[in-house]
Amino acid sequence: MTSGGLLTCGALLGLAAALVGAALPRRKRVLVTAALVIATCVVESVAAIGVLATGHPAQWHSSQLLPMTGATLALTPLGAMFVVLVALVAVPATLYWIGYARHGMSARLTASSYALFVAALLTVPAAASVATFMFLWEIMALTSLALVLTDQSRRAAARSAGVWYGVITHIGAAFILAAFLILAAHSGGQSFAALESHARALAPGARAAVFLLALVGFGSKAGVVPFHVWLPKAHPEAPSPVSALMSGAMVALGVYGIVLFGDVLLGGGPVWWWLIVLALGAVSALFGSLHAANSTDLKRLLAYSTTDNMGLALLALGASGLFVATGHHRLGALSLVAALFILMSHAMFKGALFLAAGSVQVATGRRDLDELGGLLRRMPQTGALFLIGAASICALPPFNGFVGEWLLFQSLLHGVKLGSTPGDIAIPVAVAALALTAGLTIVAFVKAAGVGFLGRPRSPGAEAAIEVPRSMRAGTGLLGAMCVVAGVAPMAILPAAERAVRATLPDVGSTPLAHGVQLQLVGVRAVLAPTVLAASLVVAVLLVAFLRQALTRRRDVRVAEAWGCGRELVTARMQYTATSFAEPVQRVFDDVLRPVRDIDVSHVAESRYVLESMSYRSRVDDRIESALYTPVITTVRRWGQFARRLQPGSVHRYLAYGLVALVITLAVVAVLG
């Protein structure tokens, strides 16, 4: 079967899964739908891998499917990369869903939307015309919105999250549509090929407008500051397999959109575009990691760290555009490879982390780190997988996040001193942002893993936690294994990323990467041997452990109570909580975060010197939300109040409105005609 055929076949399978999800009785629904969804993923990724292996895009066109325009799918190597990325998250998430469905997410609408969501995620990167793209993009948005609202009957927070998500995602879609419309108006066609061939002839102003519109539209999907506000609301409220898909895969498609417009449709742009992307990336990375370090809700923390990782991807993307714009094509290609690898590894570890967080929520009923603790003993496998995910996201060797950051660092490093002023200034700043982000990410995830999974349980729920069903562990485990494999042997992924990049940036020339056992950047002196590094780490650990065992005289290990300065009662409440863990960081970045702190002290009636009770509250609000969105919302409300006055409830008045409108329209026609 041709790749195009496979592509269609996959899409049909997805539709079938959605229908099955809506039709079958509850008992079989989840299992059958899940099987079909996994089959969809497999078929689509086979098609994608075919494209990546041959380098020839897969085409498919139907003039019947969408009214008037028809549907066009064309899977380029770049799109294929993203299809694989989606499939990498979707298969484990679906596997996880089988076990998770016992705790909700098994309703007809949910199952069907889930299948449709995955199918849309898989086909968006293959869309090759404006209508097809917007159609699939909207399906993706609507189904994910339905999934965010799964628990809305039980939780008000889910409803509010749904509203935020729905509004922002649709405003974003409007921006994307506007960008497409400008392009399409000039090219006279709506297929991407037509857009691409005419875009170069566009006036610089129009090109810039298109790029900025697309940047806002796709940036809002990618959760880039200042459009990130929906992420920390929607991700925690969505069911965990959906959070994993949204955060690992859907958000990455936002970055795909920026690459699609910047590099493919518009074919690159001036330096200032990319400086904006770079700046957005740096700000998002810093803001996201800072808030992740200060969140106590586990899933909210993960959501903020998604903003942080997308910021890093944009940083790489911006650097890539910058290099290409200043004529350093190979370096540009290297940065784009870094961006793709960062997205890929983000999909893996963030998927694993969200799934593990979901398991924690299922097992304990809580998401607040201050009420968790000691879970590694109660849930050894989930805990270990969370630790792997945390190590990966902290970019520690030998996990996949490390390779991504190394690639990004190297491309930035060799970008200095190329002779362009903006580059020379932007790059050290980018390196500093990258480094601070890396540091804050470590704070966030040492906190998440240490407070959540180590120490002693802080609530009865955490104390009574039991390990989750096998399918959930399998889903998480699959992603955890990917983190390790991609970290130890990134050569398995990088050739694909490289092919995608070479298809995207036509002037690269020779390959930017050489790989065997070690990863070698061509043209610059930079070598990384991830496999050797991992192997030597393992050998060193074994050797040191052996030496400790061999040289120790006393082999017995005595279990003793934790040392609490001689106190006879050391309780779980004496441990550091997530809030106290983040307090130093909070204080250092006081001016940025502006935390709200209250202390209430009540005294005994007899004497001011004797305390009765004392309470301390500290809250870190999202300042961008309060500074940027609250005024807009208030204004909209005020207009809403005004509009209310127009609706007194009188039928006569409404009919009169209709008459007035008709008269005005006719008058306009009369005057203009």
Binding site: T421, P422, I425, V429, V588, D591
Partner: protein, 219 residues
């Protein structure tokens, strides 16, 4: 003096000049700030000396000696006198806190570097390429002027600006007319003396040399 040693010394002294400006923002102790100023004056003198020796310009050597005496010794000593009488000789609460000031200094350094890019592109000499350092010292001086509360820090800020301008002048023209440099130095000396008198008066009347307290005179 061979060429590589010449560029090294020049580069290093320019680096030290910017570093001293950064130290002014970094440290809270007024004595340390004044000490940084003195070191900066000496580095400035070294720049002039190097340029003079390399270009065989005797006038510049004389200027170097004058700069060393005025900016490396006399002015810091005068300022130290003000500090000595000040009981709380620390810049405890700058308007912008120290880490933020340091990050701002980093930004200013880059800004200076970017802004003088067109000048350095034209400059063919080793000295011309170092102009960004002078700009950076100047900008940091302005920043110190704007954000520090103590009168002494303000004087130091002003002197940083002055040193920055002098450095740019040295590097750009490889030699300022002796008279101009003398005039400028005298101006600065005069300012310091006036400020010292003012500071003494302030201390007598207000008990400290915190500029924020001048606002109270308004009522």
């Amino acid at each position: 003096m061979n060429h590589s040693a010449y560029t090294s010394v020049l580069g290093l002294s320019c680096g030290v000049i910017v570093l001293c400006a950064v130290v002014v923002l970094w440290r809270r102790s007024l004595r340390a700030i004044v000490r940084a100023l003195a070191v900066q004056g000496m580095a400035l003198a070294l720049v002039a000396l190097t340029l003079g020796l390399h270009g065989h310009d005797d006038g510049l050597v004389v200027v170097a000696v004058l700069v060393l005496v005025a900016k490396g010794a006399v002015v810091p000593t005068l300022i130290t006198r003000i500090v000595r009488h000040d009981v709380a000789s620390r810049e405890t609460q700058p308007l912008v806190n120290v880490p933020a000031s340091l990050v701002a200094a980093g930004v200013l350094i880059f800004l200076a570097f970017a802004a003088s890019r067109s000048i350095t592109a034209l400059a063919s000499s080793a000295s011309g390429r170092l102009i960004p350092y002078g700009m950076a010292a100047m900008l940091i001086g302005f920043f110190a002027l704007a954000t520090r509360r103590k009168a002494v820090s303000q004087i130091v800020g002003l002197l940083l600006v002055d040193n920055g301008i002098a450095l740019v002048a040295f590097l750009a023209t490889a030699g300022v007319p002796l008279i101009v440099e003398l005039g400028a130095s005298l101006d600065v000396l005069l300012i310091v003396v006036v400020l010292q008198v003012l500071a003494t008066q302030m201390r007598l009347r207000l008990g400290s040399v915190d500029l924020d307290q001048l606002a109270e005179l308004h009522d």
